[in-house]
């Protein structure tokens, strides 16, 4: 493979690290030609997830390798940042509220998973808006030094997004339960990435000064609970 091709692939992969996957979500009342194209394009992936929610990671991988979808998503991200981000964010939270309500009505609790997803997306949006260079530095460092994990992160975040969108189209409680189980599992994994990125952003280092405890009483004393 020519060097330029490798470079293009690396840039394209790295760009996916930066794209907030929630840019796929349609903002209420702002449907544009671009949004319609994105929705039409991802419809086939949603159908695949609904057929078998446990296959969501493979579907996310397919989506990540779909160059046209990635181009549309990148354009949509730029578009949503260009427009009023606060309005977009509120609409996104509204979308998640609808998702949670649908699960709740079926007796399924996905609140923990949704909290993690929001925390991740909120961190990503805040980093993008407040300190873009630091954010890009963290993502690039992770992408360059931990390529396998970076690719896994992409699969996890896009799989979660596909599950969220699919949940609204699920027709049976069984389908919804299977989606809920995948949501919980992948949100837990997403959280590991989120905490890692947060620590990287602040250049977290172990201090090295410890106090030991071997019993509840000693631990209580160390923590100042007594």
């Amino acid at each position: 493979m020519r060097k330029t091709s490798i470079l293009v692939i690396c840039v394209s992969q790295a760009l996916k690290m930066i794209i907030p996957s929630y840019s796929l979500i349609e903002v209420e009342g702002s449907e544009s030609t671009l949004s319609r194209r994105v929705n039409e394009h991802i419809e086939r992936y949603i159908r695949l997830v609904l057929e078998d929610p446990s296959n969501v990671e493979a579907v996310a991988l397919k989506l990540l390798n779909d160059e046209e979808a990635m181009l549309l998503l990148a354009s949509k991200m730029i578009d949503s940042i260009r427009r009023e981000s606060e309005v977009s964010w509120r609409s996104y939270l509204g979308f998640l509220g609808t998702v949670e309500e649908k699960f709740r009505d079926a007796g399924i609790d996905v609140s923990e998973a949704l909290e993690v997803v929001v925390e991740h997306d909120e961190w990503k949006l805040r980093s993008l808006m407040e300190d873009l260079s630091k954010y890009v530095e963290v993502m690039a460092a992770f992408f360059v030094n931990y390529r396998d994990e970076a690719e896994r992160y992409l699969v996890v975040s896009f799989a979660l997004l596909l599950l969220l969108v699919s949940s609204l189209k699920a027709e049976t409680p069984r389908q919804l339960r299977a989606i809920g189980e995948e949501l919980a599992r992948l949100a837990n994994e997403l959280e590991s990435y989120l905490v890692t990125f947060m620590l990287m952003e602040e250049n977290y280092k172990v201090e090295g000064e410890f106090e030991p405890a071997r019993s509840p009483e000693e631990l209580s004393k160390v923590l100042g609970l007594e």
């Binding site: 929001v118 925390e119 959280e191 410890f210 631990l219 923590l223």
Partner: protein, 87 residues
Amino acid sequence: MSEQFKHEALVENRFKKSFRNIDSEHKKLIFEKMKRLLNNEIQGEYLKGPYKGLKKVRVGKYRIIYSDHEPCRVIFYDVRPRESAYT
């Protein structure tokens, strides 16, 4: 004599400092979670990349960062608020 943990706890100063600023209800929950980790009753999940030796576990609105890769020892590094606006 009081009951001993299965593992020894090492609590970093940063953890102690963060813990001091937490409300009493969450302090209790965190203390209970630490006891369960020290008795090997639960396991957190590994972080990634440069922090892959560390683990995280959720406790209500907080998250404990710790490691258990040394035999018979659990090192508590920090306890941080989760930053989710979605409740």
